[in-house]
Structure formats: C-alpha cells, structure tokens
Amino acid sequence: MKNHIKIASGQGFWGDLIDAPYQQVTKGDIDYLVMDYLAEVTMSIMQKQKSRDPKLGYATDLIDLMKKILPITAKKGIKIITNGGGVNPVSCAEKILETAKLLNIKSLKVAVVLGDDIKDRLDEILKQGCELKNIETSEPIIKVKDRLLNANVYFGAFPVVEALNKGADVVITGRTTDTGLTLAPMIYEFGWKNNDYDLLSAGTVAGHILECGAQSTGGNFLGDWQSIDNFAEIGFPIAEAYPNGEVIITKHKNTGGKVSIDTITEQLVYEIGDPKEYITPDCVADFTSIKLADEGQDRVKVFNVKGKSETEFYKVSCSYHDGYSSNGSLTYSWPQALTKAKAADKILRKRLENLGLQFDEIRSEFVGYNSTHENLAVELNEDLINEIMLRFSVRGKSKEAVNRFGQEIAPLILTGPPSVTGFAGGRPKAKDVVAYWPALIPKKLVQSMVKIFKLN
C-alpha cells in the first residue's frame, strides 16, 4: 500500500477555469485528477443537448482538455475521475478513446459508470410503489412527469472504485456525487471497507473541500480576501490522503491563492445542511467532529473525522420544464440615476399591464443599489450615485407573453427618462425555466454498472 496519495481537483463546475486541470497535472506530482462538472441544473441542460443530438449530453470541454492532458497523464500514470459524462457517459468515453487514438495512446482504458439515469425506467419504478416525492413539497413526481427533463440517481464512490479495480485510467460517470469522486481513490488505494464509516467520512470531507475547486484555496474568500496572493494564477486544491483517514489539503508550489484554516473553514460550511448529518450514498459524515491543524505554508491537516452508516436511499436529481423567463436591463446615469431607473420601472409595468400580459412573477432590481442585499441596502444620497442599472425580469407560462415583454425594453430609450444607455444585443428572448425536483429512491431499486472501453 502507498504511504499516501495525492488527489487534485481540476474543476469546480462546468465553466470553471479551463486550464486548471492542465496546471494540476504539470506543476507538480499528483496521482489522481478529479473533476466535478455537474451542478443541479447541468443535467437538464445536457439532456436537452442529447435530445437534439444523441451523441451529445456530456461536458464537451472534456474532449479538448483530454487532447491536452492525456499525453501527460498517460506518461505520469495519473488517473482521471470525472462526472463530466453527464447524461451520456458512453458517448463521452467513445470520444475520449478517439482522442487517445489520435494521440497514439493505445493502451488507454476508459471506464464508464452506468445506471444512474432512471428517466426511461420511471414507469417501472412508480409501479414498485416509489412515488419519487419531492423532498421539499412532498408532492409525487407524477404531477410533473409529462414535463420531466431528467432523473438521475446520485451514486457514491463505490462504482468508481469498481472501475479503478478493473484497471481504468479514466473513469467517466454520470450523476456521481462530487465527494465520491475524491473518496473513491482512497477506498481503492487503501482498501477501506464499505463499513469503515469514519474513514469514508474522512474521504467525504476531503471531497467536500475539493468539490468547488479554488473555493478552498482563496477563491470567494470573505475573510481577509485582500490577503490572498496572486488570484490570477490561483492554485486548485490537492488532497494528500493517508490510509488512517488524515488528509492534508495543499496546492502546488508556484501557484497563487492560499490554503489556510480560514480558507478551508469557509468551504466546509458551504452549502451544508445539518452538519451532524452530511448525507452521501457512502456514509453520513459528522462535520462537527472535524479538526483542522496548520501544517506550515499552504498545508492544513484535516483529521478526527467521524461518521456513521449510510442511509437506505439514494438521492435523485430530477428536473422539469416550468414555463419561461426573460430579463433585460438599461443603465441610467447621474443626475438622479436611481429616480430615473425607478420611473422607468413604473412605466414598463404600466405598459405590460396595458398589454394585458399575464406573468407568474415580475421583478425589478436596481443594480448599484439593491440587487444583492435587497431591503438591507442602505439608502443612497442620490447626488453621489453615478449610475444605476435597471434589471427587469418576468416569468410565466406563456412563451408569447414573455417574448412580448422582450420587445418593451428598447423602446424605453426614446420614450422614457433621459440619459439612458446599455441596450445592445437585440431583444431578450424567452428562456426555458428548469425547475428542480429532489427526491429519494430505495437503493435496492437501482443498480450501478461499470463498463470498460478500450481501443481494439
């Protein structure tokens, strides 16, 4: 068994710094590169792409990335684990193998984790008495079934471990948890068992720290953010993991950013619920047990993590189509910028009313004044305001009404308050609203599968 392994985070979401994975595999030694591409609504976007082209539905950025890094990872023996397979991990794997062929990397083994996509199995699952009730509203999924865009089960680390056991160099999954991507290599390398709950929780906590990329190395740090050095070349986090569950969070030397107890702590509290019950498919980690210790420059030890047995359910991430929305904006300058923007808002509302358009919600925000902190924003002395952007948005069931709203923004320039600009790029168009439907499914109703792909 290795004394320790280094697991590097390469992406915090689909759209993160494109070159971060390249930096991770070139600026120092690592054993694993893990990349999280999936946010809650990403799967529905991918499902839409797949419905237009059956060869799409995965994080297409991955292919350009593979061209760049596969020669390096193949040479160094770095394994790649990512959930960027989205709703079409098989096509993703095939495309990666095509890329490997072009690069003359003939021995590459790509594993695909399957079984998380239950959209086509829905009738069968409903028949077995599982209503996939919305966790927040308790309504059964039948209510939105005809508008359903995707339904994917969150798998944990163990299907990825199976892939590694089968000799995979690259593991492509669909809806695997962000934390599972990081935990899997620890289970694989150190032989942790599926009831080593403290160890599984330790790996899960490391996964939580890595899953948002540079958010643990100084990015979005609300403490003394100006003390963070060299954001431009920020280093992404690396978990140096030990068989006893201790993990050192660090980053490559000669990169920007900072790893400190403060930067790690901010990431620990990010998007958590009850800290004693951090539920994953692998275990339930207790975040109140975590201890942190400063181990020198850009090194923080995470240890003492406790946890307990996993639950009998997988979480299911579903999304459905729920109408249309659109937004447009105009910028008003000094003098009386806010007063002008507020007047424009009133005019626009009156015109929408006169047109008889029906919306579920109309919202106006004044960027530069209250668009982030709403009624907590302090009153401004209007003489000191240089400019205000009116951001106006609507949401409704009728695509026609939402598009009609889009035709009412530009006219305000010639038919409303003065010193206004910032309208460019055409009329805002109605966008599909994708609503999220979180549910639970008994684990026994779902089975993961691992398939290996290689060049003939």
């Binding site: 979005n220 403060d262 702590t265 620990l268 982030t372 907590l376 951001r391 948005s393 609503a435």
Partner: protein
C-alpha cells in the same frame, strides 16, 4: 454594547434549492462565544425580514467556530426558476455581516 458582526466573523453562503445556507465563522474563541450566544435563528430571521420568507434553522459547529443557518423560502424559487440577480444566495453571507449584535 454593539458589535458589528463583520468585525468578529466571516462566512460563505450558497443555495440548496429555494433555501439559502449561510455559514458564519468567528475569527477567534471570544468571537465564537459571542455569536453562539447572540446570533440566534430569531435574530437572523429578523435581519432578513422580507427576504427570508420561511423558517430559519441554526446549527452549531464549535469545532471550527462556526454556525450554519438554513434560510428556507429565500431564493425566489431557486435554480433557474428564480428571477433574482443573486439566485444562488452567493452574497447573503455578506448581507448577514451587516448585522450589529447587541451584547
């Protein structure tokens, strides 16, 4: 005595569906004692009156000197349903740091 929360703590916020999570972290043990005593769910709910339309849940993480708050029904529907400029509640931790605690 009044203490500005931003003088004794930092934090981070994000989304969980239509709920926002705000983690508040004290800079030191004294700060944690103050927030643990005075930064109650009621205080947070009152601060976000008109923004948080549901209940506020509060959890303690004394091991990292942090409190975690879940603000239900806060993000205008969450995800792509929300029309809010800050649909994911990314700026709400800073919004809570505006608070002055009376201690």
């Amino acid at each position: 005595m009044k203490i500005k929360l931003r003088d004794i703590a930092h934090g981070r916020s994000g989304d969980k569906g239509d709920a926002a999570n705000i983690g508040i972290i004290a800079f030191d043990d004294d700060g944690y004692n103050i927030i643990n005593k005075h930064l109650t769910a009621e205080v947070v709910k009152k601060h976000f009156a008109g923004i948080c339309k549901g209940k506020v849940e509060r959890f303690e993480l004394p091991n990292i000197r942090a409190l975690n708050f879940i603000l239900h029904n806060t993000l205008g529907g969450g995800g792509t349903v929300s029309l809010k400029h800050d649909a994911q509640g990314k700026t709400l931790a800073a919004a809570l740091l505006r608070l002055e605690l009376v201690v």
